[in-house]
Symmetry: C2
């Protein structure tokens, strides 16, 4: 598998096609498999889809202990450290002896279709050998789940014991439950509702425009040249503000100037020193451009804008009428992007009584990542009891 | 007075230097006066400052009935319709028979220093005759109040009966009360706290970057050529989301597609149809670029980032210790940009017991504009009783 991107993505470079065994050993190391051509919900088609994935633990002989962990917008398959040297983004939740115990469960994480960490995305080669770029088709979360179902087939997983995700990962988990109810025993949907709302769409538009308006974007055909880093970093800043609560930003930074800088300079338009919160957001933006492709950011953001599990299914309640899936819902109490009330609305649409568990955190949406231990305790009492 | 901008600003074009009388007649028509050279808080200097202003009503012989209305970030001096054909942005509050009754009070509104509606700003000519552009110095709200005090001198106003403003206008009003307590009898500070917070600074940074990263920006020296309209429109989108509540956006737009458009198109990166909320924000951005200069947007946004009435004054409580000014505070209950709790913190810093009145509105920050009648009723019972 090759990736055509303006900058190498370490995880993608580690991905190896057709490993000796697609399921055994190499915990937390990226592998990749082709799942063939894929017709897309919005009408396009991808002639050959590769999905990168990582696994932890061992699949039972009957295939009944498989757990799918779905990453968020700019997340990766590296959920847990495993045999790798790199920490995982949910190490507190997934690993030996953790709530999602990799001594007991066979855990799989798949880089989403459209991504830039080993799966087919805008930076991948199109049939003409050149990167898809501007030609990459519109993919939805439903398309992503369809591709992942093919991967599950290849891995010998008929039914997941559980599909678990937060934020866009939660939306991806929900699409699995709606699209393949017979293949999902349990489903954990964390810090996301049943559809993207007007505000989420509005913030997403601002982010995609920040990239599109970068002169280096060139309509999406920037591979082999400079990437639209400034636009992607601005998109990340806008997003990151929404991932954190007002109170957290205030407590950490208030209006303090960055060390050695003076925000009240004699020049306004040319140059001035920064406030700490500006430096912090510069850092967040700068980190993302080192590891993420701008086209994938747009493709996945637009996939997330399209999130509506009830589309074409009679709404969310229609999508889950008579569903055999056991659901777990949780929301971060201080989340101002994916409001707890949106999780409650989703709960209303599900069969039976599904409580919305609260993750207690002052920091906002990102609490679903930082409070992995708390989430683990909740899951240990419910889906993973 | 001339304005060098990439696009004519109608109000600025109407401005006339040295009218027959600076205070009589021509209600709601822009005039302008030079207030001379101005040294600036952050260290720069402007050799000649012109301020554009409008007036309504007649100044009493003793000058005791003057009310200063301060506009918000992209607001103008056109508070009320007066003799003009154009509606004012606070017609429900200011006019004959209104809470701020122009049959009784002499109302003045001044275009803020750094603006683009007749006052000296980045688009104005520097001493070399070329627009200031990137050379325009950093101006603070304190500088703006200092320039306005000179204008008040020219107009023969020794003490304002009241200074009133919302959002950045409220911050400007507060700077008047702190800087010139003997010249302000009453002060209404609406929908803003005593200083800009980390989140407000963060959102402001994203907006200024959106403009700075527009290739047409050229460091601020774009006059005479294409203006950074795309960047300014993006800045406005980011701002506008923060001016409206999540609930209002959801109630108006939810995830409905724009009429005749299809958000789930076959192409993601090249083109797709829009959601209604995207079309709405496109419209908001497009409207602003027709009437506002991008450099002024940056200069005023950075002035607002610098808002801290307690700077160099021992904090807000030091700034107002023993102040003779009678204060009125109000906050919009659903405001998620200038949180009511921030108005409450300001109230704590003021001498005596100052209640924070609540403007009841579901729409968020912009409620301070849309609920002019409600605000008028509150002011009629307090400062303007």
């Amino acid at each position: 598998m090759t990736i055509a991107a303006s900058r190498p993505h370490p995880a993608a470079q580690r991905a190896t096609q057709a490993p000796a065994s697609p399921t055994t050993g190499h915990d937390g190391v990226v592998r990749a498999l082709s799942v063939g051509p894929l017709g897309l919900e919005a009408g396009g088609k991808l002639p050959d889809v590769t999905l990168a994935y990582e696994t932890w633990g061992t699949l039972d002989a009957d295939g009944g202990n498989a757990v799918l962990i779905q990453h968020a917008l700019t997340g990766s398959t590296h959920v847990a450290q495993g045999d790798s040297e790199e920490e995982g983004w949910w190490d507190g939740l997934v690993g030996p002896g953790r709530a999602i115990d990799t001594d007991r469960y066979f855990v799989v994480a798949v880089n989403i279709l459209g991504g830039c960490n080993g799966s087919t995305g805008p930076g991948s080669p199109a049939p003409d050998g050149k990167p898809w770029g501007s030609r990459f088709p519109f993919v939805t979360l439903r398309d992503a789940a369809a591709a992942e179902a093919r991967l599950a087939d290849r891995l010998g997983i008929g039914q997941w014991f559980a599909v678990v995700g937060g934020s866009m990962g939660g939306a991806r988990a929900l699409e699995w439950a709606a699209g393949f109810p017979e293949r999902v025993r349990k489903c954990a949907v964390i810090a996301v509702g049943g559809h993207s709302t007007a505000e989420q769409i509005a913030l997403a538009q601002a982010q995609t425009l920040a990239i599109r308006q970068d002169p280096e974007f060139r309509g999406g055909d920037y591979y082999g040249a400079a990437a639209p880093d400034a636009g992607l970093a601005l998109a990340r800043r806008i997003a990151h503000i929404s991932y954190r609560s007002e109170a957290e930003l205030e407590a950490r930074f208030s209006r303090k100037p960055q060390d050695g800088e003076e925000p009240l300079s004699a020049s306004a338009l040319a140059e001035r020193g920064r406030y700490q919160v500006e430096s912090y957001l510069d850092h967040q933006g700068g980190k993302l451009v080192q590891r993420f492709d701008a086209n994938s950011y747009i493709a996945l953001t637009e996939a997330l804008m399209s999130h509506d599990v009830g589309r074409g299914r009679g709404g969310a309640s229609g999508a889950f009428a008579g569903s055999p899936v056991e659901f777990f819902l949780a929301a971060v109490e201080s989340d101002r992007l994916y409001l707890p009330v949106q999780s409650e609305a989703l709960a209303e649409a599900l069969p039976g009584e599904v409580p919305v568990h609260r993750i207690v955190s002052p920091i906002g949406h990102d609490g679903f990542l930082t409070e992995a231990g708390q989430l683990g305790a909740l899951l240990s009492k419910t889906l993973f009891r």
